[in-house]
C-alpha cells in the first residue's frame, strides 16, 4: 500500500538523497540506510534521548521523526560534530570521564551542542534542564554536567563558541528559528512532595 519515497535533505552539511518508506523513522534511516550509526537507539519512543539529532538546528528525538519529514531539512548528527579534531565538548567528555558504556554519549553531545549554540555560557541549571531528556544509566550525570560547563568555558576562552564545527554550516540555513526559552520558571512553578 505504501510506496517508497525519495527524500532530499542535507546531513552534516552535505546534500543527501535517500529512499525510504513513510513508516521508517529518521533514526532507522540514519542508522540502517545511511550507515550513520553514531546516533543510538535506546528506547525508540522519545524517553531516553540517545537518538538526539539537530533538525534545522534544533535538538529532536530522531526516533520520533519520520524520515520523510526530513524533506528539504538540515540534519546534524553526532558524526557532524568533530571538524579538525574533536569538538571541545567531545574533548571535555573524555577528560572528565563523562562516559562509561558510551551508549548515551552521542545523544548527550548533540543536546549539549544545541545548548551551547543557544546559550554559550549556560548556568548549571540550564545545562541540567537542556539535558533532562537524555538518560544515562552509568555516570550519575555530574561528570557530564561538569564536562559541558567546562567545554563552554573553554570555547569562550578560545573564541570558538558558535563556529568551527561542520554542524554550524547546517544551522546557518536555519533562519526563522527564534532562540528558544531555556530556563524553566523556578519559584513556585512546580509542586514537590513536602
Amino acid at each position: 500500500m505504501s510506496t517508497k519515497v525519495i527524500v532530499e535533505t542535507t546531513i552534516n552539511g552535505v546534500p543527501e538523497t535517500f529512499v525510504c518508506e513513510p513508516r521508517q523513522t529518521l533514526l532507522e534511516v540514519l542508522r540502517e540506510e545511511l550507515g550513520l550509526t553514531g546516533t543510538k537507539e535506546g528506547c525508540g519512543n522519545g524517553n531516553c534521548g540517545a537518538c538526539c539529532v539537530l533538525l534545522d538546528g534544533r535538538p529532536v528525538n530522531s526516533c520520533l521523526v519520520l524520515a520523510v519529514e526530513a524533506q528539504g531539512r538540515e540534519i546534524v548528527t553526532i558524526e557532524g560534530l568533530a571538524a579538525d579534531g574533536l569538538h571541545p565538548l567531545q574533548q571535555a567528555f573524555l577528560e572528565h570521564g563523562a562516559l562509561q558504556c558510551g551508549a548515551c554519549t552521542p545523544g548527550f553531545l548533540v543536546s549539549a551542542k544545541a545548548l551551547l549554540d543557544a546559550h554559550p555560557r549556560p548556568t548549571e541549571q540550564q545545562a541540567r534542564r537542556w539535558l533532562a531528556g537524555n538518560l544515562c544509566r552509568c555516570t550519575g550525570y555530574d561528570k557530564i554536567i561538569r564536562a559541558v560547563l567546562d567545554a563552554a568555558e573553554r570555547m569562550q576562552a578560545d573564541g570558538s563558541a558558535g563556529e568551527a564545527a561542520l554542524a554550524d554550516k547546517a544551522e546557518a540555513g536555519a533562519t526563522g528559528n527564534a532562540p528558544q526559552s531555556s530556563s524553566r520558571p523556578t519559584a513556585g512553578e512546580e509542586v514537590r512532595p513536602a
Binding site: A132, G188, E190, V191
Partner: protein, 296 residues
Amino acid sequence: MEAFAYAAPRTVAEAVELLVGANGSARVLAGGTDLIPQLQEGRRRASLVVDVKRIPDLCVLDWNPEEGLTIGAAVPCAQVAAFPRVQQHYPALHTACTLIGSVMVQNRASLGGNLCNAAPSADSVPPLIVHAAEAVITGPGGTRRVPVESVCTGPGQTCLAPGELLVRLHLPVPPPHTASAYLRFTPRNEMDIAVAGVAAAVTLDPAEGTCAHVRVALGAVAPTPVRAIAAEEYLAGKPLTDEHLRRAAQLAVEAAKPISDVRGSAEYRRHLVTVLTFRTLRAVRDRLAGGPAARS
C-alpha cells in the same frame, strides 16, 4: 510500525480533502511525539499520515491587541514559549509549554497535538481553558469555533468529526488586572506526566479589590480536563484572601472525578486538587500584586 501512506499538503483545503478521502483512517501528524509511538505500539492505526507542518495556516504564531494570540495547531511548544507575548499575557500557558517533556520534545510537540491527543493529563489544556481559548476547526462542511473546554470528550476522544482538522487556537487579550498560573504535581523533576494539574486565571476589579472574573481548570483528575465551576463561582466578587482561596480549593474537588492508577490513587489526586488549587490561586495573587511569581 505498520505501513501507511504519507502526504504533506500545503493548504487546509487539501488536508481536509485527504482526511475526508481516507474516511476516518487517516491521522494528522504535527510534532509526532504522541502519534509516532502510538503507531509504533499499535495503539492507533493509520492508512494515511497527513503531515500538516507545511500548511502556513497551521504554523502561524501571531499577536495583536484586538484579536489576541493566534497559535497555529502545528506550532511547537518551544516556539510558543519563546514568543514574548505568551510569557507576558498568558503565563499559565507559558509554564505548560516549558513543562511538557524535554527540550527535544518541546521542539516538536504542538499545542494542537496536545489538545487533539486528548490525554486527561495534557499540560497545556487547563491553561488554554483558563485563557478562554477557542479552537478553530475546519472540515468539509466549513469552519467552526469551539471553546477549548469542549474539544476533549473523553480520554483520547475529541469533538472533531472524521475529516475535520484543528487549524488554530485563538486566545483573547486578557483584560487589564488579569494574571494566571499553572501548577502541576509530578514525582520527578523532569520528563514526567502530571498526577494532577491546576490552572487559574483571575481578573481583579481594581476599585473593589475583588475578583471580577475567575477561571479554574483541572487536569489529570477526570476523563478530560475540566473547569472547577463551584470554585470559580465562590470566588467571584470576593477578595483573594487566604481564607477564600482555601474554601475555593475545597470546592474545586467537586469537579474532580479521578481514577486510581500507577501515578496515584483517586484519593491522593483529590488531595492534590485542593493543595494545587490553593497554591495556583496564591501564585495568581502574587502575580496580580507584581510579586515574585510574576517574574518567573
